[in-house]
């Protein structure tokens, strides 16, 4: 596996695996515990590396194929490394009719990535999302946990500059 897969032996990864084991202990025997485990594992590692899926399979005593099936079914789970911030452009109906497509184009141009890709500096992963439920502020953009409402394309460069400086 690539270096980014965070093998248990790598520096800084051992601690994460220890936390993962704690999570797995907690959910062992819990009915339907796989999805909560995947959520927490992704929070821990930033995405779901292959080695992590293997560990989950062993501990929860489930076939790896099933774990792969579940983690690839849901759009929230990522099998690839992600940027520090996830940028989500809301493509709900209200945002769509109020100009989300133009906003998305501008962000692609600003970040130089396509939908689903991560910027070269590893800062941003661009996603489109289904309604975030802030329709009153359409069009809406979220970066990490921050929500931006009524975003016009010309505001885009300035918004991202703030994160680059942090």
């Amino acid at each position: 596996m690539a270096a980014s897969s965070c093998p248990a032996s790598a520096h800084g990864c051992a601690e994460k695996y220890q936390k993962l084991d704690e999570i797995l202990q907690e959910y062992k025997g819990v009915q339907g515990g796989l999805i909560p485990v995947l959520h927490q594992a992704q929070l821990l590692f930033g995405y779901l590396p292959h080695d992590v899926l293997v560990r989950i399979a062993e501990e929860l005593d489930l076939p790896l194929s099933e774990i792969y099936g579940v983690s690839s079914f849901y759009s929230f789970f990522s099998l690839k490394p992600r940027g520090k911030y996830t940028v989500s452009v809301c493509m709900g109906t209200a945002c769509y009719v109020k100009g989300a497509p133009a906003l998305l184009e501008k962000i692609k141009e600003t970040l130089q990535v396509e939908d689903g890709e991560t910027t070269k500096d590893g800062l941003f992963t661009l996603d489109t999302t289904r309604c975030v439920g802030a329709c009153g502020l359409a069009p809406v953009l979220t970066i990490g946990d921050d929500v931006y409402g009524r975003v016009t394309p010309d505001k885009v460069p300035e918004i991202f500059e703030r994160y680059r400086q942090e």
């Binding site: 493509m91 009719v97 309604c131 439920g133």
Partner: protein, 601 residues
């Protein structure tokens, strides 16, 4: 309990949070302390007030003065003038749209005064993190009444008589669902059963469930406990979508508090009844709003639907009888128990009782959440509560029911809105999302947008949905790119019929609705795209035509200089010309022209 002479309510809904309400709250805390008012005036962060685009919103009681677009800079003036001297800060108050006069009480605002708030009774009024405030508003009284004074059968009877129907979309009678689940598994009282709250609010444009979870989480806990008692369940699950982190946090906090107060867990209120709740967070799959897919997801599997019957009422979570209701449905329950079935069934229309929450958004002046009696006309919702269409544009359509619904047009404006009337008009209630569209919206593009949505969210289990929607999307995309052909519309209609009749679950069965309804109401727009290669609303990029009006062109040449593909040529001080063959329709020339001489057709 402490008494306060005034209450300052700060809306802490998702909309206001992103508009910066927390900075306003901090400033209020500082200013109240600076003036020594912290023991006289209570500051409360509430759930969503509803009128999201007026945020950050501050409401000062007892008068109910509604301050909108409040910034931290305004706070000092509100504290000094209103709270210290009793003089309203008129410049920040909501104004009556026609007279321009400040509205003294929020209860008099058009947005609020036409509402009947049952499901949203506490949302925007109490601190959602305080169980005491919920109890002070008769919270958990219904649970107490049910556990101490009623048999499960009596509870079900009340819900049946109330006429309450599922608010998640299909409108199935709630009482019947409860009865089926109670009777499932025979007379054996020990059959394990579950109560599930469907909070996987996926329809784009609908956010009432989010608002209830965030603004009044205890009402859901109470209602689920009542349902559990009625059907004989000991465990419940709330399935919340991952896109709503605040809702998950508030629910978690509320569940912990309810346990602490003995309102969840073993031997609730000392009656011997036991019930507990767990939250399950979704992972971004729209299809999980379908009940069998949702069950699969709670079980930790891929969220794929299965054939019905058996219905969840007989075989649901882990094969056990399971009651699934939507958030808004549950939110009605405690009130029905306390006020009675007769009271509830007096509200609404003959077949649709009670109220419905609508999320109005899109091209409308006041966006947000409104709860109105069933049977309210679309005209009232859009033009009175919502304040009409901005910028003097003309109303074109209202989309209800999300990707499963359809468009309503001018001729439907005076139809009383309920489950039946919307269906008759070729749409559906859905979860209550209502997106308003004006003359600048292209209906073919909207249909394509919804198809893209359902196609992307199709789980892939059944062929008609997986492949059928893809074909429909291909045709629609072609039409919007100006490559539509004779016969496309007929093919779309035929595909729609097959997909609707042969798909496995509701997602596929209803996926063609947006196309069928726009074809029915706006066929001329489709034809303009196909035959004339023209987009009447000027939305579809490939069909746009940028032209220079010679009379207004001063020949400055700026457009020619900014054009990235050198499609504009001309001689200085004479009108320029755009070569349509080369033009990439980027629109840069139009945005740069200082004389407004460039138009898009």
């Amino acid at each position: 309990m402490k008494l306060y002479r005034a209450h300052v309510l700060i809306c802490g809904g998702a909309g206001c949070i992103s508009s910066g309400c927390h900075a306003v709250k901090e400033e209020f805390i500082r200013e109240l302390q600076a003036n020594g008012l912290q023991d006289e005036i209570q500051l409360i962060e509430t759930g969503c007030v509803g009128s999201c685009d007026l945020g950050p919103i501050v409401i000062v009681y007892p008068e109910g003065v509604f301050y909108q677009h409040v910034t931290p800079e305004d706070v000092q003036e509100i504290v000094n003038e209103h709270l210290l001297k009793g003089r309203y800060v008129k410049r920040k108050m909501h104004r009556h749209p026609s007279s321009g006069e400040p509205v003294v009480s929020s209860r008099e605002m058009d947005f609020f005064r036409h509402q009947t708030r049952i499901a949203l009774r506490n949302v925007g009024l109490i601190n959602p993190e305080s169980i005491e405030e919920y109890i002070a508003r008769d919270g958990y009284f219904a649970l107490g009444k049910v556990l101490n004074e009623m048999t499960p059968e009596e509870v079900i009877q009340v819900i049946k008589e109330s006429g309450l129907r599922g608010r998640g979309g299909a409108g199935f009678p709630t009482g019947l669902k409860w009865e089926f689940t109670r009777k499932a598994g025979g007379a054996d009282e020990r059959t394990e059963k579950y109560v599930v709250c469907n909070a996987d609010e996926g329809d784009p444009g609908a956010f009432m469930d989010r608002s209830i979870l965030e603004g009044d989480p205890h009402s859901i806990i109470e209602a689920m406990a009542i349902a559990a008692y009625a059907i004989g369940a000991g465990q419940g699950y709330i399935y919340v979508r991952a896109e709503y982190p605040l809702a998950v946090a508030r629910m978690k906090q509320a569940i912990a508090k309810a346990r602490e107060y003995g309102l969840l867990g073993q031997n609730i209120m000392g009656t011997g009844f036991s019930f507990d709740l767990e939250i399950r967070v979704g992972a971004g799959a729209f299809v999980c709003g379908e009940e069998t897919a949702l069950i699969a997801s709670i079980e930790g599997k891929r969220g794929e639907p299965r054939m019905k019957p058996p219905f969840p009422a007989t075989s649901g979570l882990w094969g056990k009888p399971t009651l699934i209701n939507n958030v808004e449905t549950f939110a009605n329950i405690p009130v029905i128990i306390l006020k009675g079935a007769q009271w509830f069934s007096r509200i609404g229309t003959e077949k649709s009782k009670g109220t419905k929450v609508f999320a109005i958004a899109g091209k409308i002046n006041t966006t947000g959440l409104v709860e109105v009696p069933m049977g309210t006309t679309l005209r009232k919702i859009i033009f009175e509560l919502g304040g009409g269409i901005p910028n003097g544009k003309k109303f074109k359509a209202a989309q209800t029911g999300g990707p499963s619904g359809g468009c309503l047009t001018e001729k439907h404006l005076d139809t009383p809105v309920d489950y039946e009337s919307l269906q008759a008009a070729g749409s559906m209630m859905g979860s209550g999302g209502l997106i308003v569209m004006d003359e600048d919206t292209c209906m073919v593009d909207v249909a394509r947008f919804f198809l893209e949505f359902t196609q992307d969210e199709s789980c892939g289990k059944c062929v008609p949905c997986r492949i059928g929607t893809k074909h429909m999307l291909e045709i629609l995309t072609r039409i919007t790119e100006g490559k539509g052909e004779e016969g496309d519309l007929e093919t779309l209609e035929e595909l729609a019929k097959v997909i609707a009749s042969s798909s496995l679950c509701g997602l596929g069965q209803s996926a063609p609705n947006p196309v069928l309804s726009t074809l029915r109401n706006f066929r001329d727009e489709y034809e303009a795209h196909i035959k004339e290669k023209r987009c009447p609303a000027g939305v579809c990029t490939a069909l746009k035509r940028y032209e220079i009006i010679p009379e207004q062109c001063k020949g400055c040449g700026l457009c020619a200089r900014v054009c990235p593909v050198q499609a504009i040529s001309g001689v200085r001080k004479e009108p320029y010309l755009i070569d349509q063959e080369i033009c990439s329709k980027c629109g840069l020339c139009l945005s740069k022209c200082p004389f407004g001489a460039i138009v898009v057709k």
